[in-house]
Symmetry: C2
Subunit: 344 residues, 2 copies
């Protein structure tokens, strides 16, 4: 099932009386498998966050609507411009970004001349990321200066319902309700000094963009084995393919393991997003999900990086295709634009 | 003005039709200055988060209700048990905790044998903290084991409306809408290894508790100078006074400066909470707002800490009194309780 948070301007607005003004949380719609049509779902739950808070009741109703939509049996369905959608969760109460692909961590640290401690292979690396606002899939990446070293990071994420404190890996997987893609925008010029302060990211990781739609696991067919998703994540930079690492390859930690880690000392609230970290395969011939890895490979090979970070006007596209070549989540496609300042 | 998010069980439930089931965001009430009475405010805004999202419209209505309540002119007012209240924001989209009191940072690092880099005096230390759930002011602190090294941290916080990216300090202060106290629960036995991983806190800082009510700046009278609040924060441990450092003393960064820091690369959404960090005065005779500082002083003086971290059954109370001795926010008062596990 594919759901999305439509901005007030997208498609035919469903039952206006049911959603609050302002649109800070979007409006729930159900999107057809081919991403070409949608149906209002605000009569079931006004927003995706509200749906997640009552998922056991809401999911069967949304699935029923989804089936009718895919079969062309809904008179109220409307044509959808998937590029006009807001993030499925335009804001969330929590985004915990893991580093499930230690190959990424190894490479990025290698570029800084740092080693990976052995404990990293047992104890997941994770940080509390920005969740008070997510960019829509085609929103610009605003930056004051390219000195920030603007990079993308293509990741898979899951969205959870309520997770009790102290949950074990074996029980954690059942709290995964939805999947989304994320572009975890990273400011490589800012991060080293910020991390050196010892408290993680505040300035170096600004708002991330989410894919147009969020989907349930059944959309992956047998590509999802219950723990890992065996499909490539395709990254295109300025129209040229940059990488397509497989999400199921060289993944050191399952989402269930990441949830277990996050919930050690506290429960996780419904709508919590867990990120995989930058997808990264050891086979460099498949390319990369961020510029930093490409630059690290160049540094290792030639002594210095050749590929620049993103400039104003550069565009990154992140998408996942199923085995039939169909876009599962719709594409994140973002341009880097100079920020004119708070007064503009 | 004092506002709070009442749990469904507190006081007379105001206009039930106006709030959504589940109570994940509490129900807005206005609380009298003496914290003894309250009035339903859900007809103005269902929750504090909703009020903040429309503050310019909502604030005059709430202030009018507050005035009538304080003057005893509201027939619908009810007696309030302030200890039964939920957190004013039972969940929030963002909690950025600063370290405005470098004396705290200096002391805690000194105990770890670490020095404070000079840049810390210009560039605020801040981390992205847990906001998907806040404990109510009298909720237990649940811990699986005291090996976690359970500590409290008493802080002042502010709640913001929408802050544009790139805002400067001079313009930032006007986005401060409300103040709350927080007990930033810290697991000293977990933190060193977690921080050593370089990505900040996930497990070492579990859910924090907020004061019963949130107040506007006018409640402080001239104790608030527009930048800093000149009142002591009183911490009591198991019924004995532990410390009362003054929030306005040895504060290296104003909230406006912390907001400027946080918003460098992104906007901050309405309802963002900014924490001051543990309040700490250089004059150790006023006592402390966390156990770690007391232990550091003992280590410096005698070679090892004498004061233990919190044990099961220990209670910490955090409160701020105005110059007339009246409790401004109501008290945070929490007991440490052993967590029985996710199956219990």
């Amino acid at each position: 099932m594919s759901t999305a948070g439509a901005p007030p301007s997208a498609g035919r607005p469903p039952n206006e009386t049911r959603f609050k003004k302002g649109g800070r949380d979007g409006t729930l719609i159900v999107v057809s498998r081919d991403l070409k049509h949608a149906a209002a779902a605000a009569h079931i739950a006004p927003t995706l966050q509200a749906a997640l808070e009552d998922w056991a009741t809401v999911e069967p109703e949304l699935k029923s609507l989804y089936r009718l939509l895919n079969e062309g049996l809904l008179s109220g369905a409307f044509a959808l411009d998937v590029t006009a959608l807001a993030a499925p969760l335009p804001r969330a109460y929590q985004f915990l970004d893991g580093s499930a692909y230690l190959n990424h961590v190894e490479l990025v640290r290698k570029a800084r001349g740092a080693e990976l401690p052995p404990s990293y292979y047992d104890d997941p690396l994770m940080y509390q990321a920005v969740s008070d606002g997510f960019l829509g899939p085609t929103d610009d990446i605003l930056a004051a200066t390219t000195d920030w070293g603007i990079d993308f990071e293509a990741e898979l994420t899951v969205v959870l319902d309520d997770v009790p404190m102290g949950i074990k890996r074996e029980a954690a997987g059942r709290h995964i309700k939805l999947f989304m893609l994320v572009n975890d925008v990273s400011l490589r010029g800012v991060i080293p000094a910020e991390l050196a302060k010892g408290f993680g990211f505040v300035v170096g990781k600004p708002r991330s963009a989410l894919s147009p739609v969020a989907v349930t696991a059944d959309e992956f067919g047998d590509a999802w084995d219950g723990e890992k998703l065996h499909l490539p994540l395709v990254v295109t930079l300025n129209g040229r393919k940059f990488g397509s690492p497989n999400v199921g390859v060289d993944c050191n930690f399952s989402f269930a393991r990441l949830i277990e880690h996050a919930a050690q000392s506290r429960p996780l609230a419904t709508g919590t997003i867990i990120g995989s970290g930058t997808v990264s395969n050891k086979d460099a011939s498949v390319g990369f999900c961020c510029l930093a890895e490409q630059r690290t490979i160049e540094t290792i090979e030639t002594g210095k990086p050749k590929t620049p970070f993103m400039s104003f006007g550069d565009t990154v596209r992140i998408e996942m295709l199923d085995r039939a070549g169909h876009s599962i989540f719709g594409a994140i496609e973002q341009k880097v634009v100079k920020y004119a300042g708070p007064g503009a």
